[in-house]
């Protein structure tokens, strides 16, 4: 059964939302991405904070994927870890202690050893894993349990994306085509199967970026760099924040060919969140027959 609306996990104090392809949940506020995968079929997200590596989330999707024996898979993973690090314990290894936390099966061996949690989503035939580098009862109680309990499959018709400080909703048919993640400068580029394109940005240090120029000039330069032709620009207020609305055109594509693609029209907006000290922007463009997405639905 296909769900039409994305689930809304309850907010947890000290945790921020994570939404990426198949997963929707919460991770601690101070966790940051150090690796991200843009393939829907298989990939991983790595998280670090001031104390370095904290967790890895990985997923694998398969058309013919039969429901895996999660218990055995987790034990196999741990056996491989023992083979590499504690060979003497492999012969006596009889399995891991497991418990169900939310939709995940959590498995652990001993304190200060890596532990894992796995979950299989029948609808999208995807298996998901959380791997934590070190187990302790305190970490389990304060960190792993809230994460695992909050994690839900992100498989509704509209998918929540919440990463790198950006949060928005896009249709399930939008694929993450490219991502450019630099310090205080993140961009995510999506494309629909009907070739509609959507790009979202977030910048830090606005006082530096806007030194000697206003939002209009800054955004005009950004759009020019992304091969857009700006048609109109208008100052406005967005959710109480100063913003600039634009209409634009860009070279479209016909299949893979740019020569026959014609010109696609689109729109966009940049706004300055003064309180957060961040600049946010989005642009969308697509073929004539494709209706543009509504702003209120993207940032609902």
């Amino acid at each position: 059964m296909v769900r039409l609306h994305h689930p809304k996990p309850p907010k947890i104090e000290g945790f921020s939302q994570l939404g990426w392809y198949h997963i929707l949940g919460f991770v601690p506020d101070n966790w940051e991405f150090t690796h991200y995968g843009i393939d829907e079929g298989e990939g991983r997200l790595d998280f670090c904070n001031r104390e370095w590596h904290q967790a890895r989330f990985s997923w694998k999707k398969g058309k013919e994927y039969r429901k895996p024996d999660l218990d055995r898979t987790l034990a196999e993973f741990h056996k491989r870890y023992l083979l590499e690090n504690h060979k003497e314990e492999v012969a006596t290894f009889s399995g891991m202690s497991t418990r169900q936390i939310g939709s995940f099966l959590f498995a652990y061996d001993k304190p200060e050893r890596p532990c894992q949690a796995a979950c299989y989503i029948e609808e999208s035939k995807t298996v998901m894993f959380w791997t934590f580098p070190s187990f302790s009862e305190e970490l389990l109680r304060n960190t792993f349990t809230p994460i695992l309990e909050s994690c839900l499959p992100n498989d509704a018709e509209s998918r929540v994306w919440s990463a790198f400080g950006m949060s928005f909703v896009l249709g399930k048919d939008f694929d993450l085509e490219d991502a450019s993640i630099l310090p205080a400068d993140a961009s995510l580029m999506f494309e629909h199967s009907n070739r509609q394109q959507m790009t979202l940005h977030r910048w830090g240090l606005p006082s530096e970026l806007l030194r000697g120029q206003d939002l209009k000039i800054f955004y005009y330069r950004i759009l020019g760099g992304l091969k857009n032709k700006v048609m109109t620009m208008e100052d406005s207020i967005y959710k109480g924040m100063p913003s600039v609305e634009v209409t634009l055109t860009r070279a479209g594509t016909h299949a893979m060919d740019k020569l026959y693609g014609g010109e696609w029209s689109g729109s966009g907006r940049i706004w300055h969140n003064v309180e957060e000290q961040r600049l946010y922007a989005y642009e969308q463009a697509g073929p004539k027959k494709v209706p543009p997405l509504k702003e209120a639905e993207i940032f609902s």
Partner: protein, 140 residues
Amino acid sequence: MIRSKKKKPVLDAEMQLHTVPYRNTNVKTWPLEKDPKTLVVEVKLKPGPLLALTMKVLKARNHKKYSLVGLSRTMYEEVDGKNTVEDLINILIREFKLTFLESRALTLKYLSDLMTRGLIVVLPPGEVPESLSMQKKIKK
């Protein structure tokens, strides 16, 4: 004769945070007359013997000037021989609401740029330079 390559000192990530950047005391600084918000930094070039001779013949300038404005000036001024790299990172987190990894990446890149231009030197914790003159440090 095969020269053995000198091993570069390895600093782990934690140690990196506790290193201390020092300013090159041979660098001259003054605020720009037209725009006092801009700090001009002048560093003397130390070319090799052949390049020095060429520069002398061509009467080329033996110094280089940089203009530091806004955040680049603030960060340079915070390099006082007391603040560690971690302190500089925390300034960005506090003043600009950046995350730790964002701030760390920006600070390390900026310090690396200043080092390449001979404006600062970064030393491991506890290693206080005998003289803060970078030229002397390099000669050793």
